[in-house]
């Protein structure tokens, strides 16, 4: 009993897709997303189009989102003319395009050295099935099912593969029934809080004031997280449809998608998606004759982390400084223009179409953990693979690290990880058996955030990491609370002093004092700004004592605890070391070169170019293992 207008749209999209799939041409779909562009994706695409044209090949060259192999972009699929076999390739640089086109497109062969695997069809000893690739094994791709398969700038592709079926079902349901379906699914907020999305929609549904607003939080400010970006750049209609379903459930009239400034491509793709949905009559007034009115605005941020906090975000849309508001009132009571407003993360909304299309039961039973459904994660830091995955909640961090991040770089030991953004804390590498679920972190005063997990090895110094994260919190403090802007500033001052060799035993108490003080801040930013230090003091206790009492930085990072010295006066590279030094810190005395400690900024350039001539020592004059301070 689907809406007839929607059915017509779906039928037509399916017809077009079927015709496209059987057009007898090879189909190439190359990933053009931010990661691919950073790795020369545009040059590859241009070269590909030119090479295909030059050879007069009748090949369709289209663009798509990311399969998640972000560290191996540009990736691309080649689908055979008969449509029976599709292979995923990686790392195709512009220089190799001619060879690729000759061997794969013109001759119809494989190029095993670039192949990741066979997506569909028969494998060979050289090109195994993609599903057997260690990175793909165990992934459950639901949100990412279309990504890399469809053109994210073509709404018909989305619709042909089941898009808007969930919305079609929701159109036939009343608001309570939609809410119930989403509540039953157990969908929890994907920004990390885990609050049931259905219940939040119900707050809005039962609010009395008009109009009601929906906001999609696409600020994704946690450095090291790009799951929302992969969704927006790869399958933006999923978010549009999700918000439409939420609009029906919450009886909202208007929605905003707030995208961070750093994501211009995601902004462009979301805008195109919204424009195309309008053109199809899926947004606007009296949508498909159903009586539903829903307008969607794609909104661009301008560089501010606290604008990811929902009330900071609301102030930002309102046109003010993006300072988080004092709660209560909560957005459900007084949000945008003081009207009831629901804020959810990109990934939260994106699950709604899947829940409605396939039912709460199907959606939730994939996971036996308390947290239902699948979750996207990105892994970065000192790991081999910096990619994006979609998995069911529950594997241990060790499993995720080994399987999806390809293990630690150079086989080093994992010293620790950060589970989800600068407010989430740090965990010692001894605890890699923690599962990727919410509770274990909560219980330890940590926080599994929006999906960005950062791993570090022994070359990282815990004082340095704390300085970085606290510096981030200080820079991004909105300035409202003295506890927050003053407290983070104080914490950074103390950390800097420690790293310069001036640590005092009382500093540990000073930190505890700050921990106690900052919880009195208004918003989570201030309240959790000290989490990194608080958790690091426990998890890496010995390293703090080393810094403060022994004045030693085991990683050879803290500037006041190390010194650069000329080890060999005769090494040929010494001249290069002198030349690269940005502060002219090399001075000659009696025919001998030495590094002037006051001028040296510990950038390490000299040791990079002259590893045998320059050494790093600590205060105890014991040489630090080469490579440690290089951090690479």
């Amino acid at each position: 009993m689907t809406n007839a207008k929607l059915q017509a749209i779906i039928d037509s999209a399916k017809r077009d897709w079927a015709a496209y799939q059987s057009d007898g041409r090879q189909h190439v779909r190359i990933c053009i997303d931010t990661s691919s562009l950073a790795r020369g994706g545009q040059a590859t695409l241009d070269a590909l189009r030119a090479a295909v044209a030059a050879r007069g090949l009748n090949v369709d060259v289209g663009t798509g989102g990311s399969w998640g192999f972000s560290w191996m972009e540009p990736t691309l699929t080649v689908r055979s003319a008969a449509g029976t076999r599709t292979v995923l390739y990686a790392n195709l640089t512009a220089e190799r395009v001619d060879e690729f086109v000759d061997r794969v497109l013109a001759a119809g062969g494989d190029m095993p050295e670039l192949a990741l695997g066979v997506v569909e069809g028969t494998s060979t000893p050289e090109v195994p099935l993609l599903s057997d690739h260690p990175f793909m094994k165990g992934q459950v791709r639901r949100l990412m099912a279309n990504i890399g398969v469809i053109d994210p700038e073509n709404i018909d592709h989305y619709i042909a593969l089941g898009g808007y079926e969930g919305f079609g079902k929701a159109l036939e349901m009343d608001a309570e029934a939609i809410v119930k379906e989403v509540v039953d699914s157990g969908l929890g907020g994907r920004a990390g809080g885990g609050f049931p999305a259905g219940r939040k929609w119900d707050f809005l549904r039962s609010a009395t004031a008009e109009p009601r607003y929906l906001v999609c939080n696409a600020d994704e400010g946690d450095p090291g997280a790009w799951v929302n970006r992969v969704l927006m750049e790869g399958d933006p209609q999923l978010i549009v449809e999700g918000m439409l379903i939420a609009a029906l459930a919450a009886r909202a009239r208007e929605g905003y998608i707030y995208i961070r400034y750093e994501y211009p491509l995601a902004f462009a793709r979301m805008q195109t998606a919204v424009d195309q949905a309008y053109a199809k009559g899926l947004l606007g007034t009296n949508i498909l004759g159903s009586g539903l009115d829903f307008d969607l605005v794609v909104f661009r941020g301008a560089g501010s982390y606290v604008c990811g906090e929902e009330t900071g975000l609301i102030n930002s849309i309102d046109g003010y400084r993006g300072m988080p508001r004092i709660k209560p009132p909560f957005p459900a009571q007084a949000g945008l223009w003081n009207k009831p407003t629901n804020v959810n993360n990109v990934e939260s909304y994106a699950n709604a179409p899947l829940i409605l299309r396939n039912g709460a039961e199907w959606w939730s039973t994939v996971s036996t953990a308390k947290e239902k459904g699948t979750k996207m994660f990105t892994f970065s830091g000192s790991v081999n693979w910096q990619g994006c995955v979609e998995i069911v909640y529950g594997p241990t961090v060790r499993e995720a690290l080994e399987q999806y991040a390809g293990g630690m770089k150079d086989g080093k030991r994992c010293k620790g990880f950060q589970p989800g953004g600068p407010l989430s804390g740090v965990v010692n590498g001894d605890e890699l058996d923690l599962t990727l679920t919410l509770d274990p972190y909560r219980e330890r005063g940590l926080f599994l955030g929006g999906g960005g997990i950062v791993f570090f090895d022994e070359s990282a110094c815990i004082v340095d990491l704390c300085t970085y994260f606290l510096g981030f919190c200080e820079a991004e403090s909105c300035g409202r609370c003295t506890t927050c802007h003053g407290g983070t500033q104080r914490a950074v001052e103390i950390l800097r002093r420690i790293s310069l060799g001036g640590g005092r035993e009382a500093d540990l108490e000073n930190f505890q004092e700050l921990v106690k003080t900052l919880v009195w801040s208004n918003c989570f930013h201030g309240q959790f700004a000290m989490t990194t230090i608080k958790t690091a003091l426990k998890a890496f206790a010995g390293e703090w004592t080393e810094h403060i009492v022994e004045k030693r930085c085991r990683a050879g990072v803290c500037p006041g605890l190390i010194e650069y010295r000329v080890r060999s006066q005769t090494d040929a590279a010494l001249a290069e070391a002198r030349a690269i030094c940005p502060t002219a810190a090399f001075v000659e005395e009696g025919g001998q070169w030495r590094v002037d400690d006051a001028l040296c900024v510990r950038c390490g350039a000299c040791r990079e170019v002259a590893p045998n001539a320059i050494e790093v020592r600590d205060r105890l004059a014991a040489p630090i293992a080469a490579g440690a301070a290089a951090g690479a």
């Binding site: 223009w337 830091g381 990282a460 690269i580």
Partner: protein, 156 residues
Amino acid sequence: MQPEPTLEELRGLVADFQPGRGHVMPALHRVQDRYGYISRAAIEVVARQLNTTPALVYGTVSFYDDFRTHPRPETEIAWCSGPACRLRGGDRIREAIQQTLELPLGGESEDHRYGLHVGQCNGTCSEAPQVWVNGEVVGNLSVSAAIRLAREVKGE
């Protein structure tokens, strides 16, 4: 570099924005997309168009790291401040670039030829450590490569 916009141009540019509808940020973006920065005159024009005050609009502009009140320098190095970059020597790269350019973070040379901006991680962490030079990624940097890059930008 774009010439200083006239009031006439500015008014025309933001004429379709309306008060009370979340148009402050979009109006500022449009000005900056067009001219590269948001001048004092632009702040006044936007305030008038949106029926608010220059003080409030300036408050908004100054809150965000990526709104600029001055033209971009000819060459801008944006340094990635993110964690993956830091774990691969990003902070030593910052120190080296600052020393070479003789600029603080966020600073620019007196002749506006070059400047140093703080960039945020955009999830291209596989290229760490990286900077963006006028928006183009320069990844997998070493400290020495960063120094050479900065010297080139500086014209040394």
